[in-house]
């Protein structure tokens, strides 16, 4: 594919749908040089369908994989990923936000809309470090 994004290297986060792994106010180093969807579990910056805003979510499933959706299964196309929030409605409410918006709302995201992969948090100081895995995955691992 040879696609290289001209996207940013540093981003600031607003809103709370990635709590508790990523909180509003976090500053992140991201890698915009991507040619494919990173592995499930990675956190990515992408252009959100419908709103066109730059958004951040975690890859739940990648190209060709199946995801549960609407009481059945959906098979992702070979350039699509399924991106979901870490926070459920309650976790998002706890940090002061409405129900998270993710692929359950806006559907699969095309590779064309992938902007960057999150690598590291460099601020605030007390939270510097790698991004924690999704809460449920962390418990399972």
């Amino acid at each position: 594919m040879g696609r290289v994004s001209a996207g940013p290297w540093r981003v600031a986060v607003t809103e709370g749908s990635m709590a508790p792994a990523i909180l509003p106010g976090d500053w992140l180093l991201v890698n915009p040089r991507l040619t494919a969807w990173p592995a499930p579990g990675s956190v990515v910056v992408f252009r959100e369908p419908l709103s066109e805003a730059l958004a951040i979510k975690r890859v739940e499933a990648g190209p060709g994989q199946q995801v549960r959706f609407g009481g059945g299964f959906l098979t992702l196309a070979d350039d699509e990923a399924w991106l979901t929030a870490d926070a459920d409605e309650k976790t998002a409410a706890a940090v002061g936000f409405g129900p998270p918006i993710d692929s359950n709302r806006f559907g699969p995201v095309s590779l064309d809309d992938l902007v960057a992969r999150v690598v590291f948090r460099y601020a605030p100081l007390r939270r510097v470090g790698r991004i924690a895995p999704r809460p449920s995955e962390g418990a399972a691992a």
Partner: protein
């Protein structure tokens, strides 16, 4: 301190990404409430012109359904479309919505055409408020309504 501030400014990201929560569709138009309210108006008219009991029972049932939709559409406009800053242009906004939604309840219980007409007038005031805050340019797709 100044040096630290400068350093921080240098490090601060220029790009903001949203860990996005909730997504309103952004399409709002009082016409949606108006059409349901017109249904109520017409049903009251038809009710008055027909003595048949079964017809009248159905008419009342349908009117209640439509009135509930009016209330829903007004609530969506009130909660989702209108923002605190709109109060500058429409200072009586909250009172207007209170009156309009109360009038819906009245229309539900009433077979008086004047009540249905009053609801239409109140919705027209909501429409004026929507237009005064740029609603018709901001919230419809491809410039509808023409």
């Amino acid at each position: 301190m100044n040096v630290i501030n400068q350093f921080l400014r240098m490090l601060s990201p220029k790009v903001v990404v949203r860990a996005h929560c909730d997504l309103p569709c952004g399409v709002y138009d009082p016409e949606q409430a108006r059409i349901e309210a017109e249904s109520c108006y017409k049903i009251v008219e038809k009710y008055a012109g027909n003595e048949d009991v079964a017809f009248r029972t159905r008419a009342i049932h349908i009117k209640e359904e439509r009135a509930e939709l009016v209330k829903h559409h007004l609530d969506v406009l009130w909660h989702d479309y209108f923002k605190p800053e709109h109060l500058e242009k429409v200072p009586n906004l909250h009172d207007l919505f209170w009156q309009a939604t109360k009038q819906v309840s009245k229309v539900k219980a009433s077979t008086d055409l004047a009540d249905a007409k009053k609801l239409l007038d109140l919705i027209d005031q909501v429409d004026a408020a929507w237009k005064a805050t740029g609603g018709n340019e901001k919230t419809r797709v491809a410039g509808r309504p023409s």
